[in-house]
Amino acid sequence: MHRRQFLAWLGGVAAVLAVTPAQGSQRASRQLVVIDLVGGNDSLNTFIPYRDPQYLKLRPSLAITDGIPLTDRVALHPALSSWQSWMEEGSLAIVQNVHYPQPSLSHFRSRDVWQSGEPKQIGGSGWLGRYLESIQAPTQAGVFLGEEYPLAMMGAGTHYLHLAPNLLGQSSLRDQVLQQLYQQPQASPLAEEVRRTVIESQRALAQLRQDLERNQQIYPKTDVGSQLALVGRLLRGGVPIVYTTVGGWDTHARQGQRHQFLLSRLGEGVTALRQDLEQAGLGKQVTILIYSEFGRRPTENGNAGTDHGTAGALMLMRGSLKSGVYGGDPALDSLVNGNLPMQIDFRQVYSEILTWLGGNPESILGESFQPLGILI
């Protein structure tokens, strides 16, 4: 992208943000947000099988004993207390034991599988990219908000805009020094071109951030909070698909406090997002999917942490859906190579979402999958 194209790109961001819901003659009637927890969330300590005696045995130091019971089998991590009533209200479904066949314990491979939706052969496209293509979506119908490779949104054409949230904030000393470095004009014209391209994109993102801070009072003042404020802004603007990543879930050591912190940031942020959507009258037309590339090993490791695992739990939220816990209990007494066996193929969930969006899951996923009946 040259300078001119870059300005066009910024124009695109502005255009995406400028559309107001009131003028929404063209806006999508159904919208999807995907929140991708990068690193592998420990779902056993998120949705706790609190009645299973195996759980305490496998997690002598990490077991959560003060969870908030949601059903007679599953309790919610206390950091997610703001979600407590959603199950009863009919706006939260939890799908446990979800994964893909022949699992890999690698972050990279697993992320590729989840984002492509093609566990057998990963091509260059993502499940949402293929969806956007199938409906002949315009150029910036989707937004990928994250530092990672946007495989989920990739297709033959470009139907998405890629924004990197880490560039929204410059708080550490390292970032300050980097800023200083980029303030200094470069003698070489080529280096100066590099410098100015970076400065301009950062300035545009900073502007965006200011705009958000002024307008989004309900969101917590955290990284996740401002990121989800941007997600909310995009959804109000009518963007049909927003994919965003939240990092830090790879809790190999001293997991307890860390996981508590991550979940509470996520919990508060998502609560604010849902509140924002309700206020905008979008509560029922936006589905939120929260997932991670794998669950963590049921047996805790020697560093009060957990290692990479396989099947995990994902969450679906929407103003009205068929609440409940799907996918059965985690089979803690019949682990396969120390990990949880999969009960639900992740593509069953994708298929459900694609159908709800009005897409053709069979052509996008290459096979048909049994629906779970959540998004009705």
Partner: protein
């Protein structure tokens, strides 16, 4: 002097290590020894899988991973960095795509590039043109008598040899006829190519002004010896190794060397590396690093350990996955794009982070002083704007800042 060594190593390998930069061996001694070693020994990966009971599509993924694991390691540890540089050059020149062929064909392609990278251009062109990978990629494997496919015939003229302005549409059609006969044979995991006389159009063709019953090898010979080919290769090599858009005198000089040496690539390289302009101000930092040059160069120069999967992901993230160019034209001319540069800054940070036991990258901060990092990354020069504050950062952060600096993005 520090700047000279730094420049030399950047152009050859994306950057020298601390040891390479502080060595006192004259640079000419180095490159002369590299040019003599035309086929450095390489251990190629074994693509046979331990488990054959997995579905074929999954086998492909595993083989691809084996291939790229090897590829990444090879690029970092290559004993002859100039040979490695030329393999990269030819891989970019003769674009093919990993998406389009089986993995053994991709490995076979790498072997061919590595065998001829420092050899006779005509042999390289022949080897590439008759490789299963190229026969698949540009469809010459299905170009046969009476059922012509002009794809390869066109690109070999336009992109691989003489370039636009030296041929007509008629040459493309006649060339396609002359190039018929080769096909790809697949037998289980093995893949090879063969010439089948019955598929070849043995009639008379007029190609680039010459008339005869031309066969594929005649086309390749005419193209490799065409004066425009020597000029084109000279211009392109100079642009990558010295500075973009060389003066006509330089191009003519290199074309003469090409012709005079009977297409010997090392002769052209020697003319470039010994040219006074090689170390000129015009050459210094005159190119923007491609993402591959950024990442592989940084890994090599700072001797950073890596998880090959993470390297692949990062390259894809920056839009420069090996064998992943979108079209036969290859990679874009400019890498100064907002998303590409912003992604690069976050990779700079990832390269020097502490990943613990989790794969990713392993940078060893204790091996470097602040001055060492400046030597390796910026020819020893402290950028004025951060002279006061850089020392306040720890070694990892210092390395991240320097890797992200505007000047480091240039080669």
């Amino acid at each position: 002097m520090a700047a000279e060594r730094g420049h030399f190593w950047r152009r050859i390998s994306g950057g020298g290590t601390l040891t390479e930069l502080s060595s006192t061996v004259p640079l000419q001694v180095l490159w002369e020894s590299w040019l003599e070693q035309r086929q450095p020994s390489v251990t190629y990966p074994d693509l046979r899988l331990e488990r054959e009971d997995i579905p074929p599509s999954r086998q492909r993924q595993e083989r691809l991973q084996l291939f790229f694991d090897w590829w990444t390691a090879q690029k970092i540890k290559a004993a002859n960095p100039l040979h490695e540089r030329m393999v990269d050059f030819w891989r970019d020149h003769f674009t093919v795509s990993a998406r389009m062929g089986p993995v053994p064909a991709l490995l076979d392609y790498e072997q061919r590039l590595r065998t001829h990278a420092l050899g006779d251009f005509q042999e390289l062109l022949w080897s590439v043109s008759t490789s299963p990978m190229m026969l698949i990629y540009l469809n010459n494997g299905t170009n046969r008598r009476g059922r012509l496919n002009e794809n390869f015939s066109r690109e070999v003229l336009e992109l691989f040899t003489v370039g636009p302005g030296h041929y007509s549409e008629r040459d493309i059609q006649e060339g396609a006829r002359a190039l018929t006969g080769w096909r790809v044979v697949r037998q289980e995991a093995e893949i090879r190519s063969e010439f089948v006389p019955q598929r070849h159009d043995a009639g008379i063709k007029t190609y680039l002004g010459q008339t005869g019953a031309w066969r594929p090898e005649d086309v390749i010979e005419m193209l490799a010896n065409h004066p425009a080919t020597g000029q084109r290769l000279g211009r392109k090599l100079w642009s990558e190794l010295v500075y973009p858009n060389p003066e006509p005198e330089i191009v003519a000089q290199l074309a003469d060397v090409y012709q005079g040496s009977r297409r010997q690539i090392p002769a052209v390289l020697a003319a470039i590396l010994s040219h006074p302009q090689f170390f000129s101000a015009k050459a210094y930092r005159s190119r923007v690093r491609s993402p591959q040059e950024f990442l592989m160069g940084s890994l090599r120069a700072l001797e950073i350990g890596f998880d090959p999967q993470k390297v692949r992901t990062s390259l894809r993230h920056m839009g420069n996955h090996p064998y992943g160019a979108a079209t036969v034209k290859g990679w874009p001319d400019s890498w100064i794009t907002s998303t590409s540069l912003l992604n690069r800054l976050s990779v700079a940070q990832q390269l020097t982070e502490d990943w613990g036991d989790d794969g990713g990258f392993t940078f060893e901060p204790s091996r470097f002083s602040q001055q060492d990092l400046l030597e390796v990354l910026l020819d020893g020069e402290m950028p004025g704007a951060i002279a006061q504050d850089l020392p306040r950062l720890d070694r990892r952060e210092q390395a991240a800042v320097l890797l992200a600096s505007p000047l480091y993005q240039l080669l």
